[in-house]
């Protein structure tokens, strides 16, 4: 028998009252927040500290999430899946005090291979100063941090847009101990160093994640020390139970039924064929079932979703409908069930490529599209449909060094039954991420920007108008590769209740020349002087445009959100 099996609370030893429960919960959330602060302040790549491309969570000994700190919206609870798979691979009995395990094997990791999940088991009591005695003590739980790494030696620098199996996507760690009983395994670090094009950044970020884990470990031990195991266990049961009850009640108050929706990804990165996505959402008896049956089989190119990623996408949509303002934990997610057949687009199995699995961005909105049929006026129309991301890779003319800097542009959000869509803002799947300043990109890449402005008429017309997208004009001042990373340019964001769809996202390569062409996801070789233009989509409209308040039309004209021509065409409004 393992010396450190999870020990359940003594039966009846502590019944938590409403105040104690909230006190314990607050301490756990503060611990996760402190992990977050540590990661942000020590991280090396801007995708972590600007895009917040990370996920942070704390678990009890049964691997139920008991606290999370906000990171990438799409990483909501993604660690849950990875932790279970990682612990299963390593074996619970093989985990010791001071261990840190790394996992980026996509099918277990709920992410592509450049998202490294690191977790540590937490034991009570803390290690003696001499460390390393045989008994680890009682397992209290786990702390877990995932973050995007800049390069793990995939076939191309930057993002991989056209891989056909997982072995083109970087070195894989299935659940590898980076620290064993508190001691750094230099061989693993050297393996990373020799397999990365940007080892300084990657190893720096790895240390940042470890620093965050160590912070969480200390705090979790302190919380248990302060209140006692029995009180903490009782409080955890109480607040997880409360979260689950509140969520089921919210579901019971919604219209009950089952609704399906279909949408299309532009392509899989290999062929030009659109890829079918279908979802059926069922709200019934306090549960919420998301079933991706009807979606495409696994594709040749890397748009496939590991099942853990599919769950995370569904969680984002689910949370926004049931508990948007609550700090997340296992209880809020318990009523959600996600289904996808292995071997299909939404349940990738080895060796399917998964690098550009931003399919999940669109899956969030696809779930909304289905639910909107039943929930009517409470849902927004489509918000641009996808994240218009781009990256430039090249050798910097000032320094002679490799760079790979990305940016995610803003879109217009969908209108609702009560107000115009917000925006331009980041796509709903990464609401708290920040775009990359132009002054930073111009200093660190070979891009210069000639224009970044809100594009008039880009929001779908309606009684309430969709938010506007933007136009960005890029001119290259040095040679390199421009990566367009978007999968929704061929079909338009959807409207609701008689509103109009906006124009789809557009990416125009070599704008203004005879080589000009529209692209979606593509790795484009560019020379100094070439140009690319991005036109990001607005949000869908809501309601019949004929019912729009003329004062709102005048205001939009005044502020340049619509043109006189569009006012006439969509609203019959003469200036």
């Amino acid at each position: 028998v393992s010396a450190h099996r999870a020990r359940p609370a003594e039966p009846g030893s502590a019944v938590s009252d409403g105040a104690t429960t909230e006190v314990v919960r607050s301490y756990l959330v503060a611990a996760a927040e402190e992990m977050r602060a540590t990661l942000i302040r020590t991280a090396f790549n801007p995708v972590i500290y600007e895009v917040l491309d990370f996920g942070i969570s704390i678990y009890d000994a049964e691997m139920r999430a008991i606290a999370e700190a906000p990171g990438l919206t799409m990483f909501l609870g993604a660690n849950d899946y990875s932790l279970r798979m990682g612990v299963e691979y390593v074996g619970l009995g093989e985990l010791h005090r001071g261990d840190v395990v790394m996992l980026n094997y996509p099918y277990w990791n709920a992410a592509h291979a450049y998202d490294a999940t690191m977790f540590a088991p937490v034991f009570e009591p803390p290690a003696d100063a001499d460390g390393g005695s045989g008994d680890d003590g009682v397992l209290l739980g786990f702390v877990c941090v995932r973050a995007h790494w800049m390069d793990l030696g995939a076939k191309d620098p930057g993002y991989v847009l056209d891989s056909t199996d997982v072995h083109q996507e970087g070195i894989l760690f299935p659940g590898t101990k980076v620290f064993e009983r508190g001691v750094l395994n230099h061989q693993v670090v050297e393996l990373i160093r020799f397999n990365s094009r940007m080892p300084e950044l990657v190893i720096g970020d790895m240390h940042a994640q470890v620093a965050a884990l160590r912070t969480g470990e200390r705090r979790l031990v302190e919380v248990v020390g302060k209140f006692g195991r029995a009180v903490v266990d009782a409080a955890v049961e109480e607040f997880l139970g409360h979260a689950e009850r509140a969520t089921r009640e919210a579901l019971l108050a919604l219209p009950q039924g089952s609704w399906s929706a279909v949408d299309w990804l532009d392509d899989d990165g290999i062929s030009a064929e659109p890829v079918r996505m279908e979802v059926t959402v069922t709200i019934r008896d306090g549960s919420f079932i998301v079933d991706f049956a009807g979606s495409s089989p696994a594709t040749t190119g890397p748009v496939n979703m590991p099942f853990g990623s599919t769950i995370a996408s569904a969680r984002v949509a689910f949370k926004s409908i049931t508990s948007p303002f609550a700090q997340n934990n296992h209880g809020f997610m318990a009523p959600l069930e996600v289904r996808a057949e292995p071997g299909t687009l939404f349940h990738a199995v080895y060796p399917a490529p998964t690098f550009t699995q931003w399919t999940g961005n669109q899956a969030v909105e696809l779930i909304f599209k289905a639910v909107a049929q039943g929930l009517g006026d409470t849902m927004p129309a489509c918000s641009g449909g996808d994240v218009p991301g781009f990256m430039m890779v090249g050798i910097h003319p000032d320094t002679g060094e490799l760079f790979a800097i990305s940016n995610n542009d803003v879109v217009g959000w969908g209108a609702t039954a009560t107000h115009d869509g917000a925006g331009p803002l980041n796509h709903p799947c990464q609401t708290v991420a920040r775009n990359t300043p132009m002054e930073v990109m111009e200093a660190r890449t070979g891009m210069r920007f000639e224009r970044l402005e809100i594009s008039a008429d880009s929001g779908g017309a309606g009684r309430f108008r969709g938010g506007c997208g933007v136009r960005r004009d890029i001119v290259f001042v040095s040679d390199g590769e421009f990566l367009s990373v978007i999968k929704k340019t061929k079909s338009a964001p959807w409207a609701l209740a008689g509103g109009l769809s906006p124009v789809p996202n557009r990416v125009i390569a070599f704008a203004g020349t005879d080589r000009e062409r529209a692209i979606s996801t593509e790795r484009l070789v560019v020379k100094a002087g070439d140009r690319v233009r991005l036109l990001t989509a607005g949000g869908g409209g809501h309601g019949d445009p004929a019912e729009r308040d003329p004062a709102a039309i005048r205001r939009d004209l005044d502020q340049g959100y619509i043109t006189a021509g569009a006012a006439r065409e969509h609203y019959g409004y003469e200036t």
Binding site: V23, A43, Y49, G204, P324, S383, W413, E439, L452, G560
Partner: protein
């Protein structure tokens, strides 16, 4: 002004204006309050000064902390503001960084609050620099004139100018301002590089817009106040507190009001630094608890922690600022039930309607109401008896809203409110020390604000902090702190170069240039060159990192010692250091004209028998034993140095009550500060 006997400081809060008078002959301090008058803020200031009754002709220094600029932004009452930027880039301010507040991260029905600038009031003109500051297109001066004419015709009265990469060379911005001022002398113009010569275009634009937005009303306010003070005989020096420490002349503040937006809370931190000196404590945590929030700041080695980017209503602000962490947990925070879980805040009852016990229509029980239930606040003697509290209503609200549904007593529910409040607070307060690589247990905690002495002894107990210092008149401590504020100015420059590429002489030249700018700014405010002290910092980071750490720069350092200082700091803060290359982010110079701090005289020791100060005991809740017991009650004004009181005990002083639980004791030290410590077990 050789015969100036008095100094006066005034701090405007949400509910009250606090005024302190320092008599430099007797070292006596007097403290008065008046109500805040939001419609005409200067009136409340004058009311508070009138309440002191000081002969303004004998006042040599009037120093003021105000959140006028902050309120103008919160209430959208600023000037009609326009933006001139690069051609094609007019929407930088409206797009921002594309993010929404993290409290709304799953709220896909989010709506942005109205922006400070209308889209039609933003315009681009031709002219462009690259990332190294090289001009790749000349400034279109006719275009600038046309843009200004257009904005003025639309009703714009204040213009923010911000161009890409201007931090490398401000010439285009300066020329644009000249052209606009020449054509429209009545219009206020703010250029980004005169406020913050740092990189990142949205942050710099937002800072400039805030400046342009609040400057005209700030100028009017300071003008009104100067006029009213002069009419009452004041002819001394008029200073305004800066958010990041020190003060500036009223004239300088009118030119750069963004430096004042959080100037009220800064007074308490300056006071904390002064107190650290007097008490001989190096590391302090200041905790200011008012009606709506708790503001905490770290003082390490006698100096307060600073940040160089603040956030105001979700707008970034690139001005030096004390690193104050605000938690939405104050006396007015509302306690409520969420399906059986007790929550406190973040909603606050504010000044209106206020807590239930204020009897102004508030129905939701607050932390203050819980304090009434627990016996800490005596409804009959609140604010020295000037405000009668409805104690029964507070108890009834806690009973019906919290205790009844939870199935516990009023006392248990009210104690639970404090438990939850503390739990929400402890993590955030601890984080500001841990982030700086310190153990909070080695700090002393300075408690002020109306609710500070009520909550801080519990907070210290919860955090394992050994000592709480309660200054006299804790609710007016921010005003008191202003009395010792130095005159300061900050200048900075974004560098973005590898440390290895510099030689120390080049760094020295850059600093000399910044010294000159800072000296000019502070010299204009009447400080002699001989009296100026310079603090020089170089912000370093590993290449690729975002957050930099400040390392002190002096003529005697070399690159190796800079690197070593950085590595030591990184190791202390984050637990690791590496061999990676270092990048210089910003260099900063602060010029300081030292002010004379108010003397805090040592008082004669008392007779050691505190019975002289004892008043009627009352029943209150003791967190040491978690039971309601009889607390001895003492009148602080009659306590003397050397007095020691064992908890549970309450020390009343009209505008605040210090609550000491069993297991704690309170001692009056030689300057009259209360020191609350744990009794050794």
């Amino acid at each position: 002004m050789p015969d100036a006997r008095y100094q006066i400081s005034v701090d405007i809060g949400g509910t009250f204006v606090d005024a302190m008078e320092l008599d430099q002959e007797t070292h006596r301090i007097r403290f008065r309050k008046a109500s805040t008058t939001p419609a005409e803020p200067w009136r409340g200031v004058i009311d508070a000064v009138d309440a002191l009754g000081t002969d303004l002709g004998a006042v040599g220094l009037f120093i003021h902390g105000t959140t006028l600029g902050l309120n103008a932004v919160l209430e959208r009452r600023g000037e009609v503001t326009g933006i001139i930027t690069n051609d094609g880039m007019a929407d930088i301010f409206l797009i921002g960084r594309g993010n929404i507040p993290s409290s709304h991260m799953y709220d896909f029905r989010y709506e942005r609050p109205p922006a400070l600038v209308e889209r039609r009031h933003t315009i681009g003109v031709r002219g462009r620099l690259d990332h190294r500051g090289r001009e790749i297109e000349a400034l279109d001066e006719d275009g600038v004139r046309e843009a200004a004419d257009h904005l003025v015709a639309l009703g714009v009265r204040s213009i923010a100018v911000c161009f890409l990469h201007s931090y490398r060379d401000p010439a285009h911005e300066q020329r644009t301002a000249e052209i606009v001022r020449a054509a429209h002398p009545e219009i206020t113009v703010s250029t980004s590089t005169s406020i913050a010569r740092e990189y990142r275009e949205y942050e710099r634009t937002a800072t400039t817009v805030l400046d342009a937005y609040i400057r005209p009303i700030f100028e009017r306010y300071v003008g009104d106040l100067e006029r009213e003070l002069a009419a009452r005989g004041f002819a001394g020096r008029f200073l305004i507190m800066r958010s990041g420490g020190g003060s500036m002349t009223a004239a300088a503040a009118q030119r750069s009001p963004t430096n004042t937006v959080l100037s009220g809370p800064a007074g308490g931190i300056v006071g904390g630094c002064h107190l650290a000196d007097v008490l001989g404590r190096r590391d302090l945590l200041t905790v200011d608890i008012g009606g709506t929030s708790l503001d905490a700041c770290v003082i390490e080695g006698g100096a307060a922690a600073s940040a160089f980017e603040a956030e105001l209503e979700h707008y970034p602000l690139l001005v030096p600022i004390y690193d104050i962490r605000t938690i939405g947990a104050g006396g007015g925070s509302i306690a409520w039930l969420d399906g059986g879980l007790l929550k406190v805040g973040p909603r606050s009852a504010g000044a209106v309607p206020g807590p239930v016990c204020y009897g102004r229509g508030g129905l939701d029980p607050t932390v203050t109401d819980a304090a009434v239930c627990l016996g800490y606040v005596d409804p009959a003697s609140f604010l020295s008896g000037t405000m009668q509290l409805a104690g029964d209503a507070a108890i009834a609200a806690v009973e019906s809203t919290l205790a009844g549904p939870l199935g516990v007593t009023v006392e248990q529910a009210a104690a639970g409110v404090f438990d939850v409040l503390l739990a929400r607070t402890v993590g955030a307060v601890r984080q500001i020390t841990v982030e700086r690589g310190h153990d909070p247990r080695s700090f002393s905690l300075v408690a002020f604000g109306g609710a500070g002495p009520l909550i801080a002894p519990l907070l210290a107990r919860e955090m394992g902090i050994a000592e709480v210092v309660v200054p006299a008149d804790p609710s007016g401590f921010s005003a008191w702190g202003m009395l010792g504020a130095d005159l300061m100015d900050d200048v900075s420059r974004t560098v973005l170069g590898l440390l290895d590429d510099f030689d120390v002489d080049a760094l020295g030249e850059l600093f000399a240039e910044l010294d000159g700018e800072a000296m000019a700014a502070i010299g204009e405010q009447g400080v002699d060159a001989a009296d100026v002290v310079f603090e020089r910092q170089i912000e370093l980071r590993y290449l690729g990192q975002e957050h930099a750490l400040p390392v002190a720069f002096s003529e005697s350092v070399d690159l190796a010692s800079l690197r070593k200082s950085f590595e030591e700091l990184h190791l202390a803060r984050y637990g690791h250091a590496m061999d990676n290359r270092l990048q210089v982010l910003n260099v900063r110079v602060r010029a300081i004209g030292r002010a004379e701090r108010p003397a805090i005289p040592v008082l004669p020791p008392g007779d050691g028998d505190p019975a002289r100060a004892r008043v009627v005991p009352r029943l209150a809740y003791d967190f040491g034993t978690r039971a309601t017991v009889e607390f001895d009650v003492y009148d602080r004004t009659r306590l003397q140095p050397g007095d020691v009181l064992a908890g549970p005990v309450l020390v009343d002083e009209g505008t605040a009550t210090t609550v000491v639980h069993s297991g704690q004791r309170v001692e009056v030290e030689e300057h009259g500060f209360l020191l609350v410590t744990a009794v050794p077990a």
